[in-house]
Amino acid sequence: MTPAQINPTPPVEALPTPEIQPFTAEPIRYVAEDGLPIHTLPAAYTPERLRELHGVMLRAREFDRKLITLLRQGRTTFYAQSSGMEATQVGLAHSIRPGHDWVWPYYRDHTLALALGVPMFELISQVLGSNSDPSRGRQMPHHFAARKQHFVSISSSIANQVPPATGTAMAQKYLGTDEITVCTFGDGATSEGDWHAGMNMAGAMAAPCLFVCENNQWAISTNLRGQTASENIHIKAKAYGMPGFYVDGNDIVAVMEVCTHAAEWVRAGNGPALVECLTYRVGSHSNADADAEKHYRTREEVQEWLGRDPVVRVEKLLEHLGHPIESRERADMIAAVHRDVDEQVIRAEATGQPDWRIMFEDVYSDMPAHLREEAAMLRAEQEGERK
């Protein structure tokens, strides 16, 4: 495609704002799979900016790779990759003001967390359950909380963050702040009653909440077709009285544009909105189902999506714009992340494991008598054993 053929009108500007969206069958896309722009890129996407975004995505990709290695070495017990979903999470991050807006995430959102500025050291500490874990070793690997970034604690129970996200948004409205709430979930989550209840309430209450479906097309072994008979997820927004946007989740430019647009719409007091990012989970659901290809999906499908790799797409775009990332430069970037992770793992492991005594803290704001008794009992037992 030559630049002359590029559609000069960015699709986001074409979206009607205050009223409910006309639903689109095809996701909004700015950059084609081969890296050529389909629409004129908004001026903000200078080569420098695109390189920056590429850097964050590559960092997240390599973080995943290193953590899988950690898992294989038996240094942690669980990991759920977000490889393939970098454009969705990094793109979404850019519509969120870290530490200002509030986020109710789900467990696959560590790339979002990194992009929002949660320090890698904190994430690694949490995955290792080390003493430096801000969540104090209480939850499974990467079910973390980061107060500074307003990243609320992750519950493993699918979709049960949705009604609380609506509540946070209602509180923001009540308090008259200019914050919004962002709530993320997978495609599978949209089958749960909690999802529908939370969406409905948000619509009825005009709560300033941006709902983002990271549609990676699989919920462990169930694909979208097994999950719902509706064409896609974003059309469900209509039932709850909010606009629904459909975006190519592997196109960082499109995700940023659409999420920013939707977030602004929410911020302006119009009520909630839903964005569906169509993407793909390239790896297995978690280390517990490393056999995905054997049981429920085909190698061809995975190959096809590997061809839509969001990180590679930015590289192709940069090449097209005449600012390629040289292979040496890329290798150096990767090596730097690996060194970084290695160092931080050593640093986190050196802090040791949280003491058993803290087991009894944080259950309540003050420790009731029965927990003091249980702690004393365990202390006697532990000290007796050490003798």
Binding site: G137, A159, N160, G188, D289, W356
Partner: protein, 339 residues
């Protein structure tokens, strides 16, 4: 098949075999589906994948997608649909991926399944089975380690079962599927592969509501169920080397539970130590303790001992220390013996 072949097969089928607990579950499901075409099986990932723990592996290939199928990710729909199917005459066996995720289906369990027979004056019933892995010891953090049985034992209308051996798992699951009531069937996940034992080659069931005496003894009754049972055995071994005779009882089912066997045992031994890994407050063993003091007060030589989980959300890093292992159990027994 020739007559001789058939006889040979039957002979092979009647040999007892040693299997693990999860295989016992799979075999029970397989045999019940073969026996009764009304039995259908569904949940998340139970089909092609065979369940997150592989308990349903191979069943879809054998019985087809009509009888073994994946549902949308919605426990309310899974349990609610099971209720509707049961009312209409099927025998649904639903899998909930982890006991920790029954929450979204809780209302359907307690408001529909449990009360169907009673509120309709016996006109309707909901004979369904909900199978779910529970308990800790697998480094799963609180969302993959909890022991929520007391929420369900507190609801009249439900039967609540938790086996600890392959024999019981198979026999109790078959009984649950053949029964006329809704059954919550907890499978102690840390015993899935760790618990091995013999099962008969022929069809059998284990009656829901009967406890099992794992070993006879005269000095103390050590009572538990589910994932803690191997630790009870270890504690009993340790005490026996000190000359203490311990009676070990596996409750196997909590509603209904074997009050008579427990009371008889405590009347004989005079001492009871109750073990479970669920948090202590509102723990089902509080019910057992009440029954013992009510019916065997005069026989008690020591206060009833209890070993339970701590009253905290199940922690990730301190996974092992949370569980009432053999040492904590032995200590409670020694305390009762020295009273």
């Amino acid at each position: 098949m020739t007559a001789t072949q058939e006889r040979q097969d039957m002979k092979a089928a009647s040999e007892p075999r040693t299997i693990n607990l999860i295989t016992a579950v799979t075999e029970a499901l397989h045999e019940e589906m073969e026996r009764d075409s009304r039995v259908v099986l569904f949940g998340q990932d139970v089909g092609a994948r065979g369940g997150v723990f592989m308990a349903t592996a191979g069943l879809q290939a054998t019985f087809g997608k009509e009888r073994v199928f994946d549902t949308p990710l919605s426990e309310a729909s899974i349990v609610g649909a099971a209720v509707g199917m049961a009312v209409r005459g099927l025998r649904p066996v639903a899998e909930i991926q982890f006991a920790d995720y029954m929450g979204p289906g809780f209302d359907q369990i307690i408001s529909q399944a449990a009360k169907m027979r009673y509120r309709s004056g016996g006109q309707y019933s909901a004979p369904l089975v909900i199978r779910t892995p529970s308990g800790g010891g697998v480094k799963g953090g609180h969302h993959h380690s909890q022991s929520p049985e007391s929420y369900y034992t507190h609801t009249p209308g439900l039967k609540v079962v938790m086996p600890s051996t392959p024999y019981d798992a198979k026999g109790l699951l078959k009984a649950a599927i053949r029964g006329e009531d809704p059954v919550i069937f907890f499978e102690p996940k840390r015993l899935y592969r760790a618990s091995k034992g013999e099962v008969p080659g022929h069809d059998y069931t284990v009656k829901i509501g009967e406890a099992a005496v794992r070993r006879e003894g005269s000095d103390l009754s050590l009572i538990g169920y589910g994932g803690v049972m191997p630790d009870l055995e270890r504690a009993a071994d340790a005490l026996e080397t000190e000359g203490v005779s311990v009676e070990v009882i596996d409750l196997r089912s909590l509603v209904p539970w074997d009050r008579e066997l427990v009371v008889d045992s405590v009347q004989k031994t005079g001492r009871a130590v109750l073990v479970s890994e669920a948090p202590r407050i509102s723990n089902f063993m509080g019910e057992v303790a009440y029954a013992i003091q009510d019916a065997a007060f005069d026989s008690l030589l020591a206060p009833i001992g209890q070993v339970a989980g701590f009253d905290i959300p199940y922690p990730y890093v301190q996974d092992k220390i949370y569980l009432p292992g053999p040492n904590r159990i032995t200590a409670a027994c020694v305390q009762a013996l020295n009273y």
